[in-house]
């Protein structure tokens, strides 16, 4: 069998605001737009994905939080409404999700073999989290590819950012083995923001862009520092500095997504494609992609 591979890795933040602003038919609330720098960046990355041949999307989401191990979606179809418990005014999304259960099980088994605590999620009533849905919808609004969702183990809270880095790296290594053995072409998605301090109030019209800005300058400086390193292909350095960044900016990378994805991609030393950066309710959000194929890798922004 042909060796499976990661064909693209995406840093894909999931503020529900971007789906809200798109007004897709699946989402109940209506908006007048907003957050274009992010949405247009997503559109551009989604177009790139259309030209890539791949079998499934694997997403690690910090909004499926598990304290007891790492869990994998393990049923073929999830059809339900997903209302965001934090921004229910913006996100009430009717979803019909197909899961690549074979891939999920292979990843689960590889992780278990590596000594990681794991669990398959087989409850048909399970509500798929909005992190998964937002990132996948923005990357592939046609929903024509199966996905695998991996939960975010809360090792940052239980231990430390450093332990999170170690554990997410081990998970990434295991996932890579499963992908290689599967013979499939896979898109990886780390679903999260960079700096992650929110405003605790909301404008009467959430999409009023005259009110949107980064929470504070320190968050911005950290975000720019990381994006610069991504541009230079210094991903090992990014992962090394991540514990401190999480400490200073409450970065949502604490859920392990970026570390997991970079480990699974063999810690890229080539430049990331940057598709956009914008704040959402004060948090810093970058859309970036790592294309292992040098001939299709672009300088986007």
């Amino acid at each position: 069998m042909v060796k499976g591979e990661v064909v693209l890795g995406c840093l894909a933040p999931h503020p529900p605001h971007v789906v809200y602003a798109e007004n897709p038919e699946q989402n109940e609330p209506f908006s007048e737009g907003g957050w274009e720098a992010l949405r247009w960046g997503y559109h551009s990355l989604a177009r790139k994905l259309k030209d890539i041949d791949y079998d499934c999307i694997v997403v690690l989401t910090p909004h499926w939080q598990t304290y007891v191990g790492t869990h994998f979606l393990g049923l073929e179809r999830f059809q339900n409404i997903s209302v965001d418990p934090i921004f229910p005014n913006l996100f009430r999304f009717n979803h019909d999700i197909t899961v690549d259960v074979e891939m999920a099980e292979a990843m689960h088994d590889a992780a278990a073999e590596a000594g990681i605590i794991t669990k398959m999620m087989r409850n048909p009533d399970f509500r798929v989290d909005y992190g998964t849905i937002v990132s996948c919808h923005m990357l592939n609004p046609d929903w024509d590819k199966p996905i695998v969702t991996i939960s975010s183990n809360r090792s940052t809270h239980y231990y430390s950012n450093e332990v999170m880095n170690e554990q997410a790296t081990a998970l990434g290594d295991a996932v890579m083995k499963a992908i290689e053995a599967s013979g499939k072409k896979v898109v990886l998605v780390a679903s999260h923001s960079l700096s992650h301090r929110h405003f605790v109030t909301e404008a009467p019209l959430p999409e009023d862009m005259s009110r949107e800005h980064i929470y504070n300058h320190s968050q911005y400086v950290w975000d720019m520092k990381l994006i610069d390193m991504m541009r230079r292909g210094e991903m090992q350095e990014v992962i090394d500095v991540l514990p401190e960044m999480i400490e200073q900016t409450m970065a949502e990378a604490e859920g392990g997504g970026l570390t997991w994805m970079m480990a699974a991609m063999g810690m890229p030393d080539y430049p990331a494609e940057i598709y956009g950066y914008q704040s959402v309710i004060g948090t810093g959000n970058a859309i970036a992609a790592w294309d292992p194929n040098e001939s299709t890798r672009q300088l986007v922004l």
Partner: protein, 308 residues
């Protein structure tokens, strides 16, 4: 409108789904279930007409969210313990109280909003509490979220606002706080029969807190909140907030009859079912050594103050 709200009793209960979904798998879980059942019976025997829940498993970011859907219907599944089964629910919320609570929050400087959406995923802790304590929706309920960034002043004011709304509407209220004591769970899957408190230190602190609860010293627990956070709470959020909210909502004193109905391990965390009944006689010990805030002006910025 009466000045002081009528609080019939206060309950402190754990958020984990085991007592609801799998009490038979562990003796401790079944004792917690029995304690829930006893509380249910006592609520039925009271003349309470509102159950107000503060749940640590419903985080919010934009201020404080208050559940106001008159009849929320959904099937909830826990993120970690999905294999124990689903939790279908249909509850009855007190819309009038929810709106009144929101207004009271705003009048005290808090950002608050009601939520009333079909399919809204009510959190595990609230679902467990409502299904076990109020299974037939005998009395209407209301749930308030736990803001991830809020600290003491904001929580105290949130509790006072709850009282304002109770007084305004003349409600007789059962207060329910959904929270663990020590909240560190085992990070691996265990045989339910092997469940125990995660560490001896967690167990000792839990027992000390239970001693305070047993003596009705709620305000003292509130004052000890930061120590409790530092000693036995995993740093998921900035502070151990449930005691602040509960004490503020129940009147900021130590004058209760306390009863610990059960204390058991829930996958390593400390789960207790505790009842506090406002007492008529006697006055407990008081240690009012922190600010008593009436109106929330935002967090104090140290850098803005003390400039020469």
């Amino acid at each position: 409108m009466s000045e002081e709200p009528e609080i019939v009793l206060g309950l402190y209960v754990p958020p984990h789904p085991q007592p609801l979904l799998a009490p038979e798998q562990n003796e401790g879980w079944s004792r917690l279930r029995e304690a829930f059942d006893t509380c249910r019976q006592r609520i039925e025997e009271s003349d309470a007409d509102l159950m107000l829940i503060y749940s640590t498993t419903w985080p919010s970011i934009v201020g404080h969210q208050i559940q106001a859907h008159p009849k929320p219907v959904f099937t909830h599944v826990d993120d970690d313990f999905h294999f124990l089964g689903s939790m279908p629910y249909e509850f009855h919320m007190d819309e009038e109280y929810a709106e009144c609570y929101r207004e009271a929050c705003e009048a005290r400087g808090l950002h608050a909003r009601t939520v009333a959406y079909d399919g809204f995923p009510i959190d595990t802790g609230s679902v467990v509490a409502l299904k076990l304590l109020n299974p037939d929706n005998r009395i209407p309920a209301c749930i308030v979220s736990s803001n991830v960034y809020s600290n003491r002043a904001e929580q105290i004011v949130l509790g006072k606002a709850a009282r304002d709304a109770m007084s305004k509407l003349g409600k007789k209220v059962v207060i329910v706080v959904v929270a663990s004591l020590s909240n560190r769970m085992f990070t691996e899957h265990i045989d339910p029969a092997d469940d125990r408190i995660h560490s001896a230190k967690d167990d000792e602190w839990n027992r000390k807190i239970l001693e305070f609860f047993g003596n009705g010293r709620l305000e003292d627990i509130s004052q000890l909140s930061r120590d409790i956070q530092g000693q036995i709470r995993v740093s998921k959020v900035v502070a151990y907030k449930p005691a602040w909210w509960m004490a503020a909502t129940m009147g900021q004193h130590n004058n209760y009859d306390g009863e610990v109905l059960a204390y058991e391990a829930l996958h390593g965390a400390g789960g207790a079912v505790i009842q506090l009944t406002p007492a008529k006689g006697g006055v407990g010990d008081k240690e009012f050594d922190e600010d008593d805030v009436e109106f929330y002006h935002g967090d104090r910025s140290v850098l803005d103050k003390g400039m020469l």
